[in-house]
Symmetry: C2
Subunit: 444 residues, 2 copies
């Protein structure tokens, strides 16, 4: 009897044989996710320069040591005035003021503005002491050494107050937030050329199977391309994680061990195919030899049942303990189990506070049917119809049909115990691509 055979029959019915390992099997996706996240640490922080920080997660809150803007300044090109000097000014009866001086944007502290005078001022230039308003140049007429003001500005008009953006000591960004373009601009304004962010997770990816070849390989005799490693590496890169490809392991313990050892320095190790009930289960033997403690094998989901998860235990193995995912070999199962379990783990490793996709309620365009017992992750297209979002199956939901993934906008959660949902039924959908909400125009 092949090793682990009993496991495939189910522990309860088959009874514990010599080779049945102490791992949980047939658990719910929720139990699996809770287990994964409980085992997943948050990576240490590192200090990086601003361009490296884009897309990373802040490992420290950012408090300002500056006042922004640093001084009262003009929001417009025009003239700095004392508002009281322009009281009652209109286009028909302008107030004429001598122009005392000009203040370019790059000026440091300008001289004080005497009463009854105006100062030419450019956007961003500091307001001269004494002035309390700016008149836009569109509301003035300039003559030799004088300006005719045609409006009566209230005090503070077109003036940006010192500190109106950021006060000294103010908490500007919170730890755990993502650094996007606006956050990067803010860090630059605060003079923070370096910032502490969480490390990028490194993910070692192994393919396994004698039938697999690289994309340029010979596919005669039923061989197929090891496409999972490409899709999984891309899923990593889209999250900002660094994939390390370990290649295609042949179905021998020696080749598998050689390659897996190359991934022991990673934060997370993904093996596509091999940790299964099949006769070729060398990956599991090798993982155990390397000190891997499996937490579960087999999740009540479709696609993706034969998902395994564990951790290389540094006390038993010879390296520092990456998380280990054994993903099913079918292309859709591999991508979906990555999406549901590896993705949140990678986001947690990277320090993110939000680990899950946007979700929304959508109505079924057509009925769905299945057997009870497993949660189905149904690939759907999404469309806005009036106020509602309508979900349609991408077609054949077989776990080998990659087209069901290339066409998907989202993943509809078809509850474990449900068997038939009619058209119009409302269900949760995880949004993979929010572009379905985009229109052909900008909205203005």
């Amino acid at each position: 009897m092949p090793k682990n055979w009993a496991l495939g029959r189910g522990g309860a019915r088959g009874g514990p044989g010599r080779y049945v390992p102490a791992v949980r099997s047939g658990i719910t996706p929720r139990e699996a996710l809770d287990c994964v996240l409980a085992e997943t640490p948050v990576l240490r922080s590192e200090t990086v320069s601003l361009p490296e920080a884009l897309g990373r997660v802040l490992a420290e809150p950012v408090d300002s040591t500056r006042v922004l803007p640093p001084a009262d300044n003009s929001a417009m090109d025009g003239f700095a005035v004392r508002a009281a000097d322009c009281a009652g000014a209109t286009a028909e009866a302008p107030v004429v003021l001598p122009v005392a001086f000009e203040i370019p944007a790059g000026a440091s502290t300008p001289p004080a503005l005497p009463g009854g005078r105006a100062a030419r001022i450019l956007t961003g230039a500091p307001l001269p002491p004494g002035a309390d308003a700016v008149v836009r140049q569109e509301d003035t007429q300039r003559r030799d050494g004088e300006v005719a003001v045609r409006v009566a500005p209230p005090p503070g008009e077109h003036v940006r107050r010192a500190g109106e953006d950021v006060e000294d000591g103010e908490r500007v960004l919170e730890a755990g937030g993502r650094v996007g373009p606006a956050q990067l601009g803010m860090l630059a304004s605060l003079g923070r050329g370096f910032v502490a962010v969480h490390q990028r997770p490194r993910v070692a990816i192994l393919s396994g199977g004698d039938e697999l070849v690289e994309p340029d390989g010979d596919v005669s005799g039923g061989r197929i391309v090891s496409s999972n490693s490409w899709a999984l590496a891309a899923q990593c890169r889209e999250l900002g994680a660094e994939p390390v490809y370990l290649g295609i392991a042949r179905d021998t313990p020696q080749d598998i061990e050689r390659r897996l050892r190359g991934g022991l320095g990673a934060d997370l190790l993904v093996s596509s195919a091999g940790v299964s009930v099949g006769d070729r289960d060398f990956v599991r033997d090798v993982l155990e030899k390397l000190g891997c403690r499996l937490s579960f094998w087999g999740v009540n989901m479709k696609p993706g049942y034969p998902l395994a998860f564990g951790r290389i235990d540094p006390e038993r193995g010879d390296a520092a303990g990456p998380l280990v995912f054994g993903l099913p070999g079918n292309p859709v199962s591999a991508m979906m189990t990555f999406e549901q379990f590896v993705r949140p783990a990678l986001l947690k490793l990277a320090g993110a506070s939000r680990l899950f996709r946007p979700r929304l309620r959508a109505r079924l365009a057509e009925p769905l049917r299945k057997k009870p017992g497993r949660l189905h992750f149904v690939r759907v297209t999404l469309a806005r119809e009036g106020e509602r979002v309508v979900a349609r199956s991408t077609g054949n939901q077989s776990s080998g049909v990659q087209k069901s993934m290339t066409r998907a906008d989202g993943v509809l959660l078809f509850d474990a115990e449900a068997t038939e949902w009619p058209a119009g039924h409302e269900a949760w959908v995880q949004v993979l691509d929010p572009d379905f909400l985009a229109s052909d125009d900008a909205g203005f």
Copy 2:
């Protein structure tokens, strides 16, 4: 009188002076966007290897030259049978079949299955001629050389048909689609190690102003960090465009020209500050010298009125004509005009079919007020409340307040002629970050 002064006073009121250029001014955001997109070409294609293709836009449709899966194969670990041989099998009355041979996943064409026999088969392995169904090993019991089958499979059970994913010659991916992880996996499966995608737009970014310093610079005397270049470069990178930073130009025509010439080889040139009505308008002079034909200056929007757009004309200048955007200098204005006009232009250059953000209807949490005449782009946070999305202003909407951007989930469009919208009013919001739809759990 400074050059272009008349423009600032408004052409109609001031009358055309000697220096009023033939550019449109005070146009609507829609007119500005239409103008930008009409001038924007689609970049040529280039053939890249698979890892380079992630995030790019396909420049060619992809037709399969393979059948996927290449042969009928098993969806499960179990036993290949003739369904007719197992008719009536149950757990109580199993059908016992001799096991003729085993078929590993890496096998090429297996021998034919004789009638009244079963073949051990692994997931992905080719079905032997003669067999038409697979019985899961969970539904069997193996004995020496025999297997007891405890269910009666219908023909086709657990069999993946050759071509059920992709037929030979089938159009699998369309030109204009984005290459994400699923598309990359599909390309790999099809043996396409190289694929034609549109070039990445290169964006030259110039900062300008004597008051500006780099993030590690001295900010005494009212100087401020040139944060716009950092935010704009990050906006480019998030779209997959390549920013080229030209540095901070001092307020002299010589320095501006020297730096702008460094950007003439780019596809798009962004100048932050400088193309204005102000007294320091050297950028415009230099651009004209380099052959720039301005299409418009001044858009009826807030923030962002002083936006300029044009193109370096290859017949007049000495290089191959990048698009030119003169963005306002205020941090929020710079990011918002990039978001509304440069972003769609970059997506069009990159070949994308969808140029705009996801949009949705949201209800105002608080009333909004403004003067009529300009479309306001209000930075808002978004929250799901029951079935509805509620938008709240991020606070002070002054164009100098960067915090209004760092906190924004979306941009609410406050129509040009509207003056007051009450709480509860429903308006369009462009979604910058769909994460507001995310929950604290995966939904299962």
